[in-house]
């Protein structure tokens, strides 16, 4: 399978990428590692006229301790996040989840910025960043803006990123008391049929993979936890208000049941410190 023809441009800096985007925002896509975009292009589900390769922009691959939060450059590959000492000690949930994405070959190429900008509800990292209450730093023609993750994922493969903007950094708070991650699939390397990223403590946040058109928070679970419910009682509310998709892997009802099991496991792992 070969992508449709496109014009290939290479950006040497964020400013250059933004200038190239500005020429035809709707017909242009940014290419980082390419592990979300190229498969879509090969299937001709995406046929951008212009591809701006941002993968060689220097200085956008880092995991940095920034005081109360950890700052991650958008071009940081999953493998680099997974093995980062700063990520492992300060935001272990994120390092762990980065190591669960796809397979080693995918993690050698895919980037956190690409994964978030793609906005696939079946991806793991968007849920991890949502559970951690992260902030996304976005650059565009009007300068830099910070988007809280709660307002970033708007719909299926749709985010708050404008067509002339580029995600440049992800910030996640440090010091989560406990965390858990669960991913259920039937084949190695596959997307989660359902996944759960949970952060417990004074401000519990539970984010779900593949339970709707975007990654979503399990509000009922969070409320129950805040009110002091046990993991099992809180997990029973995991599917509240959610209408997950039905597909080859699982029906809507199956997912609604599975999510209660996985949330319970994630919370039990989090509260006992097993991760």
């Amino acid at each position: 399978m070969i992508p449709a023809s496109f014009e290939y441009r290479r950006a040497g800096s964020v400013d250059e990428a933004l200038a190239l985007l500005r020429q035809d925002p709707d017909g242009t896509k940014l290419l980082a590692g390419g592990h979300s975009l190229l498969p879509l292009m090969k299937l001709r589900l995406a046929t951008p006229g212009v591809l701006v390769d941002v993968g060689r922009i220097g200085g956008l691959s880092y995991v940095r301790d920034a005081g109360d939060h950890v700052a991650i450059g958008a071009l940081t590959r999953h493998r680099d996040l997974e093995t980062s000492d700063v990520a492992r000690s300060e935001v272990p949930l994120l390092a762990h989840v980065a190591g669960q994405v796809g397979d080693p070959q995918v993690r050698h190429r895919g980037t956190i910025g690409g994964s978030l900008a793609h906005g696939d509800p079946a991806s793991d990292l968007p849920a991890a960043v949502l559970a951690l209450g992260g902030t996304l730093v976005v650059q565009g023609p009007g300068g830099t803006r910070e988007v809280p993750v709660d307002g970033f994922f708007l719909g299926f493969l749709e985010t708050a990123l404008g067509p002339d903007e580029m995600l440049t950094e992800i910030r996640v708070r440090k010091g989560a008391a406990g965390w858990g991650f669960q991913k259920f699939n039937r084949r190695a390397q596959d997307w989660a049929i359902v996944g759960v990223a949970a952060v417990v403590g004074s401000d519990p946040r539970v984010a779900l993979v593949n339970m709707g058109s975007t990654t979503v928070r399990a509000r009922g679970v969070e409320e129950a936890l805040a009110a002091g419910a046990s993991p099992a009682d809180a997990a029973a509310r995991a599917a509240e208000g959610l209408d997950p998709p039905s597909d080859l892997n699982a029906s809507t009802e199956y997912r609604q049941h599975l999510v209660t099991v996985l949330v319970r496991r994630a919370l039990e792992g989090a509260t006992t410190g097993r991760g």
Binding site: S5, Y8, P39, P104, Q105, H108, R109, Q189
Partner: protein, 157 residues
């Protein structure tokens, strides 16, 4: 567009269409057909090669992205005199293949994995090869081969 890619130590410059995938470039432009195309959807790992020493699925990399980078394919593993790479040797000795279609990708994935995990457990090998599918062997001998290749040379014999 023009790309200069070093494949198995040999740099060459070619004009390619922008949409050329790395696996097509390797097979059709460089004539290195040891890298197989299996699923063509980033799943099976048959097209795995090393890019700057790390395993990647060459069906999901543009030749343009490999411009100015170093690629190693299965043809680059054996020594110039034909002596097999220790991983190839181990696959032969442990019968880590049947039809052989997944083998080049398996060997390249194993090479990258062993760089990152020089002394892996069996469980780590199985997880480390999760990006490569084999439809013949049930994986048992592949895992044994990778474990053997990880051990000091005398243990492989």
């Amino acid at each position: 567009m023009q790309v200069t890619v070093t494949v198995n130590g040999v740099p060459e410059t070619h004009d390619v269409e922008t949409r050329t995938l790395l696996v097509q470039y390797l097979r059709e432009v460089r004539g290195l057909t040891g890298t197989n195309i299996g699923c063509d959807t980033t799943s099976c790992g048959a097209c795995t090669v090393l890019m700057d020493g790390e395993s990647v699925k060459s069906c999901t990399v543009l030749a343009a992205q490999a411009d100015a980078h170093e690629i190693i394919t299965i043809e680059g593993m054996a020594a110039a005199d034909g002596t097999m790479h220790p991983i190839q040797q181990a696959f032969q000795e442990h019968h880590g293949l049947q039809c052989g279609y997944c083998t080049p990708g398996m060997v390249m994935a194993a090479a990258s994995f062993l760089q990152e995990h020089p002394q892996p457990s069996e469980a780590e090998v199985r997880e480390g090869l999760e990006g490569n599918l084999c439809r013949c062997t049930g994986y048992h001998n592949i895992v044994q081969a990778v474990l053997a290749a990880a051990s000091p040379p005398e243990a492989v014999r």
